[in-house]
């Protein structure tokens, strides 16, 4: 299975040339702004270039470039908010992001993407962004900052963060009140409303892709109906971007590789018009999108031959591999059944990036196929869009859990003047019963160190930010499955604590 846009090679070549030139401008403008010699025009052009790059990458189906450019844009927005007074390692990361995009764009048609860890790189950026305001505020094409058009973002970031702060305070009260039911209900309503502030409708995007798929089918001389089923769900903007990339590839792939030409379908006793069903379902806190076509299915024999040719499987393993193993290869970096890159479909880039984007948000993707019956791609994404890696720190107060971003190091060490966050927050009075296991640790980053006492061993988990607060706020509530934790930002939390003492 391969990426399936039917674009002339000349357009892809033009995209590559234009993007390399654009990246040069982006790099220069970034350098000027961080060295305080940038101009307002230069800044405006920078955002315009990044925004345009992202749009063009979408058009030509470079989903991996879209993902990295989106994060680069997030970094630039965060940097602009700080008037480009960024730390050196952020500067390095921005420069690397530019180089990363350049590398992806330069990759020869058909060249392997093996060894490139898009998911890992996105995570590096996310770790940095986790320390900064994380919101939907994105520059528009003119470079002006504002909510995205049509995405309903009328509430400013500052207001959202203040509401996040209020929700966090309410959560503290909830703990101290021993879980009063009415207070819990109020807190849940507030968190639910906060989630809605960032939510955007999904259906307009699905309809656009459906229309686009039918246009591609017409260009290929095929006939297809695209049927959309499901509620008019709303999703977080990051989820929307990921669904966008996934729909782009799966729908076009279904049209190009799945749905047969009318005369072929007729020969197989099928209706001349093919059908693609896009089903959207909301399951608890997840959104499930399924794309099912009644085409020819995946040619597993072609996959088998290609896997052997590329050295991914030995001849023995290839001949013995079950269809499910072969189908899994469709997600391997750089894998394509097409040997010649006559269209972008043969570039072999995309499905791995789509999976990387989905998995980065904590989602899953699966692919099933039956020869001459059709293929089915299904992906599931958590509705919550903010995922952050944290150290989970059990509190000395049973039932309360803290968390610290993994950008902080945790050392098992008894430091001077250790603080018990549970006592500092008034969640437990000194001398009251405590967790059976006390542990002394030091939170360290960039020369800052904070010794604390916790109530157990530290583990690393991915948490969802359910009510994001400002990076200047020391606390925030995050969630792992059903467990709610108090995220501590040590650089904001402990100094404010000392000031209040």
């Amino acid at each position: 299975m391969a990426v399936a846009e039917a674009l002339p090679l000349s357009i892809v070549a033009q995209f590559r040339a234009t993007t390399i030139e654009r990246l040069g401008r982006i790099e220069s403008a970034w350098g000027a702004l961080t060295q305080r010699v940038g101009t307002a025009e230069g800044e405006s052009e920078l955002f315009h270039d990044v925004h345009t790059l992202k749009g063009e990458a979408r058009l030509v189906g470079f989903a991996d470039v879209v993902l990295i450019t989106q994060r680069l844009e997030d970094l630039l927005v965060a940097a602009r908010r700080r008037r480009y007074r960024v730390t050196e390692d952020v500067d390095v990361l921005v420069t690397m992001a530019i180089q990363f995009i350049r590398m992806l764009v330069r990759k020869r048609a058909g060249a392997s993407q093996g060894g490139i860890d898009i998911n890992g790189f996105l995570k590096q950026i996310d770790d940095v962004l986790a320390e900064w305001p994380r919101q939907s505020e994105t520059p528009d094409a003119s470079g002006a900052t504002g909510a995205r058009a049509g995405e309903g973002g009328k509430v400013s970031v500052a207001v959202r963060q203040r509401l996040g702060g209020a929700a966090t305070q309410m959560f503290l009260e909830l703990i101290m009140s021993d879980e009063r039911p009415r207070l819990r209900r109020a807190w849940e309503i507030l968190v639910g409303e906060l989630a809605q502030l960032d939510a955007v409708p999904l259906m307009p995007l699905v309809r656009r892709h459906a229309l686009s798929a039918k246009e591609v089918a017409a260009e290929l001389g095929k006939e297809v109906d695209v049927v959309i089923e499901g509620p008019d769900a709303k999703v977080g903007i990051e989820v929307l971007d990921t669904i966008h990339a996934a729909l782009l590839h799966t729908l076009r792939n279904a049209v190009d590789h799945g749905i047969e030409a009318p005369h072929v379908r007729a020969a197989h006793g099928k209706p001349r018009r093919g059908q693609i069903l896009v089903n959207i379902r909301i399951d608890a806190d997840a959104i499930v999108v399924t794309i099912e076509d009644d085409g020819g299915g995946i040619d597993t024999e072609a996959l088998r031959r290609r896997a052997e040719t590329l050295g991914l499987l030995s001849p023995e393993d290839a001949s013995a591999a079950p269809d499910s193993t072969l189908i899994d290869l469709a997600f391997a970096p750089g894998f394509s059944v097409r040997e010649a890159a006559t269209t972008i479909s043969g570039r072999g880039i995309g499905l791995d990036a789509v999976r990387a984007g989905i998995e980065r948000l904590g989602g899953t993707i699966s692919l099933e196929s039956k020869r001459n019956v059709g293929a089915n791609v299904s992906f599931q994404l958590p509705q919550s869009r903010r995922v952050i890696d944290v150290h989970r720190l059990p509190s000395t107060q049973p039932g309360v859990t803290f968390a610290v971003p993994t950008t902080w190091m945790v050392r098992a060490e008894r430091g001077d003047d250790s603080i018990d966050p549970a006592i500092a927050l008034g969640l437990r009075r000194a001398g009251a019963s405590v967790s059976a296991t006390l542990a002394h640790i030091v939170l360290a980053r960039d020369g800052e160190e904070y010794p604390i006492v916790i109530g157990g061993s530290v583990t690393r988990v991915a948490a969802v930010r359910i009510c994001p607060t400002s990076p200047d706020d020391g606390l925030e509530v995050v969630s792992v499955d059903d467990e709610k934790m108090l995220l501590i930002r040590p650089d904001a939390f402990f100094p404010s604590l000392r000031r209040s003492l």
Partner: protein, 133 residues
Amino acid sequence: MIMIDIPNIDANDLRAAPNYVDGQLSLSFAGSADSRSQGAIETMLGRVHTEAMRLGVPEVAVDFRDCDFVNSSCFKAFIVWLEQIQELDSEQQYRLRFFSDDTKAWQRRSLQALSCFAIELVHIESKPSRGGS
């Protein structure tokens, strides 16, 4: 004894020295690499690449532990170096093993990001600082 043709760097707060012992090619950085050192680093890494190919080493070790900082311009030289390795035929490619001091957040973050360009070619090993800085 096999000689290597790689210049040292000892200027503008940066010291970098190559070493070739028992078939192992390594580079040690100490101090800070800012824009003033960009040219010297580019030249050095270009020579390291040439020598690594000439010697046919499977790996080049780069020790950052005593390095206080490498700015974005200088880091770009490492990306270019990595891309040069990627462009080689697979049998000519050699790996880069970075020794980092994890207590320096910039090293952890920057090197991990660098490894994402070619996870098969970059290995990061965290070791305590040798006490230089």
